[in-house]
């Protein structure tokens, strides 16, 4: 196991970044979209994203809403590209498996809304893991 020299606990500094006006607003918007508590999302972000990405959160979120998941309804509802490529809260494989499962559920005759609700539940769990 290799470790970096002169490491310091970055969590308080990452939290400071997230408390600025626009970042706070963006975090709340993302939490609303995912349907989870702000504080939990903040915790997950501090753990998963690096400081530069946290600073850039707002413009990535804006661009994500403009350009991500064009056309595909289920992917758009789940935020497949949004939460992997624009704001990398999940890795691509996990997201793909969630997407596959949701589409299979829809093909097996489950109502679209129910399937998406279940998919979102899995996304929430994966983000917090």
């Amino acid at each position: 196991m290799t470790r970096y020299l002169y490491e310091k606990d970055l969590r308080p500094m990452k939290y400071t970044i997230l408390t600025s006006t626009k970042h706070d607003r963006t975090v709340r918007a993302i939490a609303h979209r995912l349907g989870m508590a702000d504080a939990k999302l903040r915790m997950a972000m501090i753990r998963r994203l690096d400081m530069s990405l946290l600073e850039n959160l707002e413009s990535r979120w804006e661009m994500g809403q403009k350009h991500a998941d064009g056309g595909d309804g289920v992917a758009g509802e789940l935020g497949c590209e949004l939460f992997t490529r624009f704001i990398p809260l999940l890795d691509t494989e996990t997201m793909q498996s969630i997407y596959d499962e949701t589409t299979t559920m829809i093909q097996n005759g489950l109502a679209v809304d129910d399937a998406i609700t279940r998919g979102r539940e899995r996304i929430r769990k994966a983000v917090l893991r």
């Binding site: 002169y6 310091k8 308080p12 500094m13 400071t16």
Partner: protein, 151 residues
């Protein structure tokens, strides 16, 4: 005075390696230090070489008021510089915190609390010529007869 000391004096007076570290400023002072490199000011005719490496530096230019990350790391850098060494504070920030020493700030000036400062160049930012003359006037004071001055 020994011959060895004479040789050391002669060498040290014409070979000053400078490292600069920004501990949280607006980088206006950074670029004025960089401007010293320009052929107009010709910093190298005095034997000053700006090499941003603390391990081979003689003079450390400290810029900026101290941000959370630097609170412990500034001392680390200072300890890595070989003796004899001298720290010069560039700009208002290391002295007082300048505009950043207000309510709500994240900085903790002055720099003197963390490392010993030998000289200060006030200004927001100071001119390159002032930085140059500060280095040139403080370096001989510390480096001349350094070994003999040791107790």
């Amino acid at each position: 005075m020994s011959i060895l000391q004479d040789i050391k004096n002669a060498v040290r007076s014409r070979s000053i390696h400078v490292a600069y570290v920004d501990v949280g400023s607006c980088n206006g002072c950074d670029i004025e230090v960089l401007a010293c490199l320009a052929p107009r000011y010709d910093i190298e005719q005095y034997g000053i070489y700006v090499h941003n490496n603390p391990r081979e530096a003689d003079v450390l230019l400290v810029i900026g008021s101290v941000t959370p990350q630097w609170v412990d790391k500034l001392r680390d850098i200072w300890d890595k510089i070989p003796e004899p060494k001298v720290a010069v504070a560039i700009g208002n920030c290391p002295i007082s915190g300048c505009v950043y020493a207000r309510r709500g700030t994240l900085t903790t000036p002055p720099v003197e609390n963390y490392i010993p400062i030998a000289a200060s160049v006030p200004g927001c930012p100071p001119r390159p010529t002032e930085i140059l003359s500060a280095i040139l006037s403080v370096a001989p004071l510390i480096f001349k007869d350094y070994e003999e001055k040791q107790p």
